[in-house]
Amino acid sequence: MKSTPVTVKRLPDASDQASQKRFLRDIKEFVSRSTRPRLVLDLSGVEQIRPESVDLLLECVDHAERGDGEVFVAGPSARTTVILELTQVASVVRMVSSVREATAEHQPDDFESGTQSCSLHAA
C-alpha cells in the first residue's frame, strides 16, 4: 500500500455514460487500494464544465472522502471556476491553477501506475 498516492485524470465526455461508469470504477479502485489518496482532476482545456461533469466530480469527492483523501481540480477555466463556486463544489475540493501545483510535493513513485503522471512534467 502506497502512502499518499496520486492519480491525475481528465473527466470523461459528459455525454458518454459508459466512459463515466468506467471512470468512476477506476476512481473507486484507486481509492480502495490507497491511504489518503490524492485525486487530481485536470480540467485544463475545458471551457465550461457541464452539469453532468459537476455531478461526476461530486461522486469523486464522495469516494475520495471515504478513503480520507482529497480532490484537486487543476487548471479550471474562469467559467468553470464560477460554476464550481456557484454550485458550492468549490468548497469541497481544492482548486489549483495547474496539475503541477497539485502534485508539486510528490515524487514519481507516488503516482499510480498507468495514470497520467506525465502531466507532472507537461503542466
Binding site: P51, E65, E70, V82, E85, L86, T87, S91
Partner: protein
C-alpha cells in the same frame, strides 16, 4: 427631478442615429416656441442640480451648455432653440456650436456596465448617493417591499433591498450589499453575497452567488469578468431540470458533513 423645474414637456427620443424623428421632434418643439431644450442622454446617473445648471446656462454666453465631470461629458446638455433651428440640427452641434462647460463635482455613475450598476446599487444601499430604496425599512438599512415574501429563516445582513412580489425561500442568506429586484424567486438555501438580482429572475436552490449580477438566466461574475447562461450551465430550474441543483447542493452538504477535504 426635471418636472420639479416646472418643465411642461418631457419626451423620450430614440438614441438611434438612424431614427428619422429623433431630430425632427426637437425641431418641432423649437418651432412651436420651446426656448430651451434640456437633452439628457440616458446612460449615466448624475445628481445634477438642474436649477443651478439652468442658472449657469442663462449666465453663459453660448447657446449650448454641456455638463462634464472628471471623467468627461455626462451626456447632459442645455441648448437654446436657436441652435436646434440651424440647418444641421442639434445632433451635429458638437463640432461647430460654441458651448459652455458646466463642471459637475457631485455624484455620478456611468451605467455602461454591470460593474457600474453594482456600484450604484451599493452606494444607494449604503447611503452614499441620493437614491433611497423604496419599500418598508424593516430595520436599519434593510428595505423590503410589502408585497415581498421572505421566509422567517432567511438571514439578512444589512444593507439589503428586496423588491415587490419577490419570494425569498427558507434558508436563503443575503449579505454584502445585495439587492433583489421585483418579481424574483430565490430558492431554498441559496446565498447572495455582493450580488444583485434583476427583475423576474429565478435562482435555483443551493447556489452561492457572489460578486455577480443576475438577469434572468444570464449571470455576470464581476470579479472574474465572466458571463454565464445558467440555463446551459444546468443551474436554472426554469429552463433545465429543477431537481438537479437541489440534489447537487444536498450532496455538497453531505460531503461537508463528513468532513470537507478542501477547506
Amino acid at each position: 427631478m426635471v418636472q420639479g423645474l416646472g418643465v411642461g414637456l418631457v419626451s423620450v427620443v430614440s438614441r438611434d442615429p438612424q431614427e428619422p424623428n429623433r431630430i425632427h421632434t426637437m425641431i418641432e418643439w423649437a418651432k412651436e416656441g420651446v426656448e430651451q431644450i434640456l437633452l439628457i442622454v440616458l446612460g449615466s446617473y448624475a445628481e445634477i442640480d438642474l436649477v443651478d445648471l439652468v442658472r449657469f446656462h442663462y449666465q453663459g454666453q453660448h447657446p449650448v451648455t454641456k455638463v462634464f465631470d472628471q471623467e468627461g461629458p455626462l451626456g447632459v446638455s442645455l441648448m437654446h432653440r436657436g441652435c436646434v433651428l440651424t440647418d444641421q440640427g442639434p445632433a451635429d452641434h458638437d463640432g461647430y456650436q460654441p458651448s459652455s462647460r458646466y463642471d459637475f463635482l457631485g455624484y455620478a455613475v456611468r451605467l455602461s456596465s454591470t460593474v457600474s450598476y453594482r456600484r450604484l446599487v451599493k452606494d444607494a444601499l449604503e447611503g452614499h448617493c441620493g437614491i433611497h430604496p423604496t419599500g418598508t425599512q424593516v430595520r436599519e438599512s434593510v428595505w423590503i417591499e410589502p408585497s415581498a415574501r421572505v421566509d422567517p429563516s432567511v438571514q439578512i445582513d444589512a444593507p439589503c433591498y428586496i423588491g415587490a412580489a419577490s419570494n425569498i425561500k427558507a434558508g436563503v442568506t443575503i449579505r454584502g450589499c445585495s439587492s433583489v429586484e421585483r418579481n424574483c424567486e430565490i430558492d431554498l438555501g441559496t446565498i447572495l453575497d455582493h450580488a444583485s438580482v434583476l427583475p423576474n429572475t429565478y435562482l435555483a436552490p443551493g447556489l452561492y452567488v457572489r460578486e455577480s449580477v443576475v438577469d434572468g438566466t444570464k449571470l455576470e461574475h464581476l470579479g472574474r469578468g465572466v458571463s454565464l447562461d445558467l440555463g446551459t450551465a444546468g443551474l436554472s430550474a426554469r429552463i433545465g431540470r429543477r431537481a438537479n441543483p437541489l440534489c447537487r447542493s444536498m450532496r455538497v452538504a453531505d460531503v461537508r458533513r463528513t468532513g470537507a477535504p478542501g477547506r
